[in-house]
Symmetry: C2
Subunit: 130 residues, 2 copies
């Protein structure tokens, strides 16, 4: 149990570090966390993105474009099973005076070297239709 | 490799059966597939739902309320690692003359008896803000 809590805290710390980079316009920490097989949904795309090369092109196009002043990660939960960890949380992000409210899913997979990489990421807005 | 393809096809068949029940207003197949630990996002909720009891109350409140005439599952992909399978796809659903376009994530976990259960489900709209 103690080991599980340590792993869950590690997963959440990885996500917070990536998110804090993102909030300053730097996608590198997310790109470093994504596994080659990454699949990805967000509310601005027509279709799922597949693979790290697609994500590199997409995220590099946004480098320096994002500035989130403050965020609140709400009730993060890690469902840990062996080498898979499903992190889910709600997120409040404040940018340019606006509040953006998100649902977030990150599926992490432990690699042979012991590190954890994200194999799936799904971002969506909370109640986008009001 | 052959076993992996068989498992992926099985996961997709489980999802299609649950979805077809749902489309006829019957949530039972999804409820049967959800593990006790299920976590859940959809675009109509303020916050993540946690646990099968919450999902039972929610889905039973929708029983008989849904009628989807036709659906198209677009490019389903299964990322299979040992006892975890991440199914992702885009979905077109036609209901009452309207087309609803979805992103879907289903994280399956194989149980000790060999069956597969969903431990996380995330539904969102494609480009809800246009």
């Amino acid at each position: 149990m103690e080991q599980q809590e340590t792993t869950a805290a590690h997963i959440i710390a990885l996500e917070c570090a990536a998110l804090e980079g993102w909030n300053r316009g730097n996608p590198s920490a997310y790109l470093d966390l994504y596994a080659p097989e990454i699949t990805y949904f967000d509310p601005f795309q027509e279709k799922r993105f597949d693979g790290i090369e697609t994500m590199q092109v997409f995220y590099e196009s946004l480098r320096g474009q994002i500035s989130v002043e403050k965020y609140e990660m709400i009730d993060p939960t890690v469902q840990l099973h062996d080498m898979t960890a499903v992190l889910t949380y709600n997120l409040n992000s404040w940018a340019g005076g606006d509040l953006f409210r998100w649902n977030c899913t990150e599926v992490f997979r432990q690699q042979p070297d012991g590190s954890w990489k994200i194999i799936h990421n799904h971002w969506s807005f909370i109640k986008p239709l009001g």
